[in-house]
Amino acid sequence: MIQPQTHLNVADNSGARELMCIRVIGASNRRYAHIGDVIVAVIKEAVPNTPLERSEVIRAVIVRTSKELKRDNGMIIRYDDNAAVVIDQEGNPKGTRIFGAIARELRQLNFTKIVSLAPEVL
């Protein structure tokens, strides 16, 4: 349940460390974003000497939430943190490596590149 003003960790090596969500992409007046939703975020903290800088507005896709993700077979997954992967307009990740576990639902949402780079797909 990511909403504007939520701070998220970054799960790739694109150069950003922490993002703050400023808008949930989807319908207008959409309240919360879950795993697989695209958000507009501003970079709050960045790794030095990388293409991305602090207070830059970028798009990201949410890959981990502390709010549970429910599956049809009765399984529920809950991560310990909120994390996103920085993407560009088409949906390709800006970084080259992904850290941490990724949920399987991203594959259905056409983020196949992210899923293939992930060390563990849950």
């Binding site: 981990r64 549970e68 077979n73 009765g74 399984m75 529920i76 997954i77 809950r78 991560y79 310990d80 943190d81 994390a83 850290f99 941490g100 576990a101 399987r104 594959r107 060390p119 563990e120 849950l122």
Partner: protein, 233 residues
């Protein structure tokens, strides 16, 4: 009327009364009750047995009679308060009234089983159905006991990943009992991130559950582990 005596004797035996009561009981009871036991009377009482209200009165009558140690008094209609405070609770038994048409779903049942009144049994139907479903699953698959604090290893089949089963290893931090929907939560570290997964215990996707270790915990829900960095699991 004969069946009334027989039923009350059986009920008396149920209460664990000694055998000598029976002899005294029979002789004195016969003296007070009408001697001619016509078939009409038997049928009359049998018909009246079927309504639960009348059963209550008769049952009370028998408790009164049996507790009087052989001295048979006419069964008195006791007030409602006494009815409620009587030690034996109010239920129908199939052994005492053999000509009761049994509409309960258990045709072959040992004589000692208790049934609630028909309208009360209806409330428990879902519980009975649930228990049967759980037993059905347990017969097909071996589901071990899982309590919080156990370290378990699961083999879960994922529909998309049909090639092989994924192995999930973690500590059980919670268990919620709800019949067939009993669920348990497993906490583990995956690639540096803590992940909690909740599984239905009797899910067909879980192919195997193996208990590796048992930790001593003093709690039913181990949510405090979320703040503790569990390094290895």
């Amino acid at each position: 009327m004969q069946s009334f005596i027989g039923g009350s004797i059986r009920l008396g035996q149920r209460q664990g009364f000694p055998r000598w009561n029976r002899a005294q009981f029979k002789s004195s009871a016969k003296a007070y009750l009408p001697s001619q036991s016509s078939s009409n009377a038997v049928q009359g009482t049998n018909n009246s047995i079927k309504s639960p209200n009348n059963h209550l009165l008769q049952f009370l009558g028998t408790t009164f009679v049996s507790q009087a140690n052989g001295v048979c008094s006419v069964p008195v209609l006791s007030p409602l308060a006494a009815m409620m405070s009587s030690s034996s609770s109010i239920y129908m038994t199939t052994a005492a009234f053999p000509n009761m048409h049994s509409s309960e779903p258990f045709p072959d049942v040992p004589t000692r089983i208790k049934f609630k009144r028909l309208d009360k049994t209806a409330k428990h139907i879902m519980q009975i159905v649930d228990k049967e479903a759980v037993e059905e699953v347990k017969r097909q698959r071996d589901v071990p006991e899982i309590k919080p604090g156990y370290i378990v290893q699961l083999k879960v089949e994922v529909p998309e990943n049909k090639r092989r089963l994924s192995t999930i290893k973690g500590i059980v931090i919670a268990r919620r009992n709800a019949g067939l929907n009993t669920t348990f939560r497993i906490r583990r570290m995956v690639a540096g991130v803590g992940v909690e997964s909740l599984f239905p215990l009797y899910s067909p996707n879980i192919k195997e559950i193996k208990v590796l270790d048992k930790k001593k915990v003093r709690r039913a829900k181990l949510y405090y582990l979320r703040n503790k960095m569990n390094a290895l699991r």
